[in-house]
Assembly symmetry: C2
């Protein structure tokens, strides 16, 4: 299969670009129709051997989770996705069929989040990688990392630690038991919280998605806001069974919840009374002192690392 | 240097994002202010060992030429650049100083084309690569590849073959002689033709930039337009000295001009009378028959390959 035949096949798998796109795949560039809203842009990469392993993920999973992770940055801005660009570096032994299986996973995430891939690029290389540029539109009140105020509560959507427990199970040669598979699935097929992102406008003072890890990302948010924050381990929301399964891997449940990344849940700060019931769980408080920390049983909790996003 | 310190240093090298940017580097995503014009998007990658070699280019050259090549796709749409995103995959032995030298080259291209890098990503990996997403605004009449009409002339801006001769000189261990250096420089520091792109609206029926090679890119344009085209070797504009220096590398001057890529000149079709004097050189004609070909001395000219963009 030559490069241009492969691009034609990729284009077919990705499907039609939808009404917002004036010109899609196949020209020098894609064109989005004008919008009265500000355009939000982000880029993210998934590199084989750094962010994923082929024996831990199906080819479709690789495409699905890497595009979802890239799109999640838009959710963290309170934005809605419009489209994406995909730049693939393909090692010579990958072949067209496997490439198209990865693209199928990308296309599935694109359908899920109504973010069609409208352009891209294919290159040879020694190392498989998927680089996404994601494009969205901000709402009337875009969120940033830098608006947290002293006295705000710290909130998180959904649960924390599940995805990190998932890949650590795989790393330990586990993950097949029924009570383990839910965590592996959370890593393999994460969700970006666009369902909640639109509700954060006018509520949150600052927001970020949990990609590096709860404490690490809270650190980014606090640093950008010029404040500090503490969280309480007892308050962290986790999936049913999390505390039972976590001891099967290295580290303990609290450590996983505090430092495990790739959840793509939204971490935000807000005045307590402003957060609607059911939107998120309050886990801590914004302080004047710089830095972030965790408390457990009323005492500071040490963690060996704040979080990392590289699985290999 | 840790990842976050490196990102802070990169951000400083890239400079301020300018008035069109509501939020630049440092958050989950960047935000562009709304515009009444359509947004144009493209992505391109430069991979070490595929698109460049460190012994042929300075680190600054790597950054400058890869960003310029990515931006050129916007020129081919008759668009003006707004900004770019840079996703770097950095091998462990590269180090911060070399990374920042590459970023300096990116920043220089960004200043040249008024396209500040407003966001990005840094990842580890085994293979150095720079993936760009480029963002622009279309004029009132965006160009595409697909509007060429039978009877249109085929035109090219500037000269062809110079960049390809440049890297072939390096490949042959040459390039130091004064008459050779101009070609090497054209490959190391290409220019994107935004100076001419804005003049093609209302003139060109279809356009593309020469990245893969004159005949290859003419083939893309013709296929997208559902037409064919022929060009005449005698009409091809080349740099002074091109015919003298070309015999020092493999292939002949005509072959280099027909198939050498990475010129980033604009190839377009237009009714002959509509093209202002001095904008471009007429090199051929659009036909009804599919396919593209070259004529030399009135007879079909065979080429061993239509063009390629991989230097290694």
């Amino acid at each position: 299969v030559d490069e241009f035949a492969l691009i034609a096949a990729i284009r077919e798998r990705l499907g039609p670009p939808g009404p917002r796109v004036a010109l899609g795949i196949g020209d020098d560039a894609a064109i989005l129709r004008p919008s009265r809203r500000g355009v939000v842009l982000s880029t993210d990469v998934a590199v084989e051997g750094v962010h994923f392993r082929r024996d831990w993920l199906s080819l479709e999973d690789i495409g699905f989770r890497s595009y979802t992770g890239a799109l999640s940055d838009l959710a963290a801005m309170g934005a809605s996705p419009t489209s994406g660009l995909l730049s693939l570096i393909l090692p010579p032994d990958l072949g067209a069929a496997r490439t198209l299986a990865i693209v199928d996973g990308v296309a599935a995430a694109g359908r899920r989040y109504r973010a069609p891939v409208i352009g891209g690029n294919v290159s040879g290389g020694r190392e498989l990688s998927l680089t996404f540029a994601v494009v969205g539109e901000v709402g009337p009140r875009p969120l940033s990392r830098s608006g947290a105020r002293v006295g705000d509560g710290v909130f998180v959507t959904g649960t924390v630690g599940a995805a990190a427990l998932g890949w650590r199970l795989l790393d330990a040669g586990l993950g097949e038991a029924p009570e383990e598979r839910v965590f592996v699935e959370r890593w393999r097929r994460p969700r970006a919280r666009f369902d909640l992102a639109s509700r954060l406008g006018g509520v949150a003072t600052a927001a970020i998605d949990i990609s590096d890890g709860l404490l690490a990302d809270l650190g980014h948010l606090a640093a950008a806001s010029g404040v500090g924050a503490t969280v309480h381990v007892e308050a962290l929301p986790t999936e049913p069974g999390f505390a039972d399964v976590a001891p099967r891997v290295r580290g303990d449940a609290a450590e996983l919840a505090l430092t495990g990344g790739e959840d793509y849940e939204l971490l935000f700060t807000a005045p307590s009374g402003r957060v609607p019931r059911g939107l998120a769980t309050r886990i801590g408080t914004v302080h004047q002192d710089l830095g972030v920390g965790a408390f457990e049983g009323g005492a500071p909790r040490a963690v060996t690392h704040f979080g990392h996003r590289h699985v290999v």
